[in-house]
């Protein structure tokens, strides 16, 4: 919820339009067996104070007329959710960091991280050696190898996740969509392309696509949006997420000179900004913010 509050102001804060669209999130129900599950979920979330509600088929049709009405029984709706352009978000943060005085090295592989005698960190990146009081490891699926460099094993599993984007289309809908059971999500980008992903996440560290998953995703989305059948797909790609055994991130101190924030298990984009803010506070004050306390690496001791 803290994260949701952060996004609307980010474009102004970063000085770059991150194409944030806050039009809600619909989790679409296509079969009766899941309607009950969704309504139970909604009840539980409402008890926690979340603004979520059930939409019947007519409500969904009114909200997103582009969807095939016959395919949808209803949806769980959370009006405060949104979507964002991940590239713009990253570039915005990068540029803001540079403006604030951060140096950058892009395209260099970190080969060694060591703790210096003085208690600081020394990082070897290509031909460069960088010294700092603290090193923060936030390298997604690459984090496990970096933590290993420091002698700390983390139970991270790489999962390749695939998505596709169509050529630009006139505006169809502004909401973010998912399904229950999971397996498909989609949104229309500011640029106009329908971006969708899902299918099986495959346990591997290589980011290429697999024809079977592309076909599966295509089958799912064309049932919900039949008009896409004749629309050109521009590209399909894979990305690797770091998953933890419990699906929650690892945000912890590795040593006197190193912090880690990884294992977002597919939720890195939504959580990245808020976690970054708390990490910064941690670095500034030297005290771990209470909000981050559930995410210690110690909870996986048994798994290693």
């Amino acid at each position: 919820m803290a994260s949701v509050a952060l996004f609307p102001g980010l474009s102004d804060e970063l000085g770059l339009d991150i194409e944030y669209t806050q039009a809600g999130n619909l989790r679409l129900i296509e079969s009766p067996e899941y309607a009950q599950t969704m309504q139970t979920d909604i009840g539980r979330q409402q008890d926690l104070g979340l603004d979520v509600r059930w939409l019947n088929a007519d409500d969904v049709a009114a909200m997103a007329p582009a969807l095939a009405p016959a395919a949808i029984l209803g949806a769980g709706y959370c009006p405060t959710d949104g979507h964002v352009n991940p590239f713009r978000l990253t570039v915005g943060y990068f540029q803001a960091a540079r403006r604030a005085g951060a140096d950058s090295l892009i395209g260099r592989e970190v080969r060694a991280i060591t703790q210096t005698d003085g208690g600081g960190a020394m990082v070897q990146a290509g031909p460069h050696t960088i010294r700092a009081a603290t090193v923060v490891i936030a390298a997604g699926a690459g984090s496990a190898a970096l933590c290993q460099l420091m002698g700390v094993p983390l139970p991270l599993t790489p999962f390749c996740h695939q998505s596709m984007i169509t050529e630009p289309l006139p505006p169809l809908f502004a909401q973010m969509f998912g399904t229950l059971p999971a397996g498909l999500y989609f949104r229309q980008t500011t640029h106009g392309g329908v971006h969708f992903g899902g299918g099986d996440s495959i346990r591997r560290a290589e980011a290429h696509t697999t024809p079977q998953t592309l076909r599966y995703m295509t089958g799912r989305i064309t049932r919900l949006l039949p008009m896409l059948r004749g629309v050109n797909v521009l590209r399909a790609w894979g990305g690797v997420d770091a998953h933890t055994p419990d699906g929650m991130p690892v945000i912890d101190r590795l040593s006197e000179a190193a912090l880690v924030a990884t294992g977002f298990s597919g939720h890195g984009l939504a959580l990245g900004p808020i976690v970054g803010r708390y990490l910064a506070r941690w670095l500034e004050t030297g005290r771990k913010p209470a909000l981050l306390s559930p995410f210690g690496a110690g909870r996986f001791k048994a798994a290693l």
Binding site: F87, T90, V91, F94, Q95, R98, S104, L105, I106, G107, F159, T166, E167, P181, A182, G183, H191, G199, D200, S201, R203, T209, P211, Q212, T213, L214, R215, Y216, T218, G219, I221, T222, L228, R229, G230, V231, N232, V233, L234, R235, A236, W237
Partner: protein, 467 residues
């Protein structure tokens, strides 16, 4: 499973298909175009007119001779069919008249060819500015002359070859702006050794152009094209050894058509998707598939021939195609009459000679200064040189980082046009070698296809995939 699939029906692919078929193998030859021949031997779907301009007639005759071999009963030609994905297990995804389809092959020969390299300048997106190859394809495939007053600009022998073809077809060639100074071409003339036919042709072309009064300006580049809705003028200027325009007078030319060619770039999209290893081969047009002496890539059973191995022209394409056809047929259990030895030597010799020649007509880094900050580099997404330079100043050093940062290369052409330019731009701005910019990671489909192409083809795909 098909015995042998050949992708691309240009000179290399046709040579491979015919050789393998004659050895007894069953071959499926696939091409996106309706007719075989590739771009070099472009065939027209129109009936041949009684008289073609002589150089076009000669190209047509040579093409017909090569393509006659495709009538072999072992060859199935599938035209109008795009191969939009290849996986390392030699499965190809097709989109064609019969709808979506996947085929698997025991041996896969990739002869995907090349595309033209173009350098940007103000006005290069105006209608009427086109590639030299585009104007040639209109002549060969459509029997259509693109313009009346034509400027050809860029570098390489193709400018004069096309100049003669357009002249014969009835155009006025206002000028040919060749980037290399004549002195440097002459100084490098030893590199023409072994190219007797080419030199003869080049001298012949030069004489024809001279007789027609065509000014061939060596050491010149086009610096801008002008016009409202289509090109109506062009400005050329002298450039120095590094390709920077020299201070001094420019020549403004009244033209209705500008044709550009700065060499070619290998189309390695399919070999990249197949997981084959590539290397940066400056003299062969940049990133190219690596093969062994038998044209086999780092992926067993996947061959790369012709331009995919690096720009080698028809001279390298034909023996390389024959060699791959021989080897693939033998791996499929067919005995070929001739030993592969002589073909292998012919392929190696042709490749080495062309490599020498290519170095005479290299693109020069100074040309990148022609692109003003408001000049578009990525034509699809309309990303300007200024936007890209700003990103490079932020520390971006590779094509794969420029793409999400700026959207350059994210459009429909998938970076085919801007990719080689971006490598030059990165090199110019950072001082790094062009090869350090890397290649764009290739994403399927290699060209946009309707989503229906990817629909499940059997029930196996219908099972839930949630982990």
């Amino acid at each position: 499973m098909t015995e042998i699939i050949v992708i691309g029906a240009g000179p290399a692919g046709v040579a491979a298909a015919v050789t393998a078929a004659e050895a007894g193998a069953r071959v499926t030859l696939i091409d996106e175009n309706s007719l075989p021949g590739g771009q070099y031997f472009k065939q027209a779907a129109l009936p041949a007119p009684a008289s073609l301009p002589p150089t076009l007639a000669e190209n047509f005759r040579q093409g017909q001779a090569l393509l006659a071999g495709l009538s072999h009963k072992n060859i199935t030609f599938r035209g109008n069919t795009l191969v939009w994905n290849v996986t390392p297990d030699r499965t190809v995804s097709l989109y064609g008249p019969a709808g979506p389809e996947t085929l698997a092959a025991a041996q896969l020969i990739i002869a995907a060819g090349a595309y033209e390299r173009v350098m940007p300048f103000p006005g290069w997106t105006l209608p009427g500015v086109m590639t030299v190859g585009g104007a040639q394809l209109l002549l060969k495939g459509q029997r259509l002359l693109a313009g009346q007053r034509i400027l050809l600009a860029g570098t390489g022998p193709l400018l004069q070859v096309a100049g003669v073809q357009l002249l014969e077809a009835g155009a006025e060639i206002v000028a040919i702006a060749e980037l290399q100074p004549l002195g440097s071409i002459i100084a490098r003339s030893p590199r023409f050794l072994g190219h007797r036919d080419k030199v003869k042709l080049a001298l012949n072309n030069a004489r024809r152009l001279k007789r027609a009064g065509v000014p061939v300006k060596f050491g010149y580049a086009i610096v801008r094209a002008t016009g409202e809705n289509e090109v109506s003028g062009a400005v050329i200027a002298r450039v120095d050894a590094a390709g920077h325009p020299r201070p001094g007078p420019e020549s403004a030319l009244a033209v209705d058509t500008v044709c550009l060619n700065f060499g070619f770039a290998p189309d390695t999209r399919l070999t990249q998707l197949a997981g084959c290893k590539h290397h940066f081969a400056e003299r062969f047009g940049g990133w190219a598939a690596i093969t062994d002496d038998n044209m086999e890539t780092s992926q067993p059973g996947i061959f790369a021939v012709g331009e995919v191995r690096g720009i080698g022209g028809v001279e390298a394409a034909l023996p390389e195609g024959r060699l791959a056809g021989q080897v693939a047929a033998r791996k499929s259990g067919y005995r070929t009459d001739e030993s592969a030895g002589p073909t292998r030597r012919a392929a190696r010799r042709a490749r080495a000679l062309v490599g020498q020649l290519n170095t005479v007509f290299a693109v020069k880094p100074g040309l990148m200064t022609l692109a003003q900050d408001d000049t578009l580099i990525c034509r699809c997404e309309e990303i300007s040189a200024g936007q890209l330079r700003a990103a490079i100043r932020e520390g971006i050093t590779t094509l794969n980082n420029l793409k999400p940062w700026t959207r350059a290369g994210m459009g429909r052409c998938q970076g085919r046009i801007c990719g080689p330019i971006l490598a030059h731009l990165l090199a110019a701005e950072t001082g790094l070698e062009a090869q350090s910019a890397g290649q764009f990671t290739v994403r399927p489909p290699v060209k946009p296809v309707p989503l229906s192409t990817l629909l499940p083809q059997n029930n196996n795909d219908e099972v839930a995939h949630d982990k």
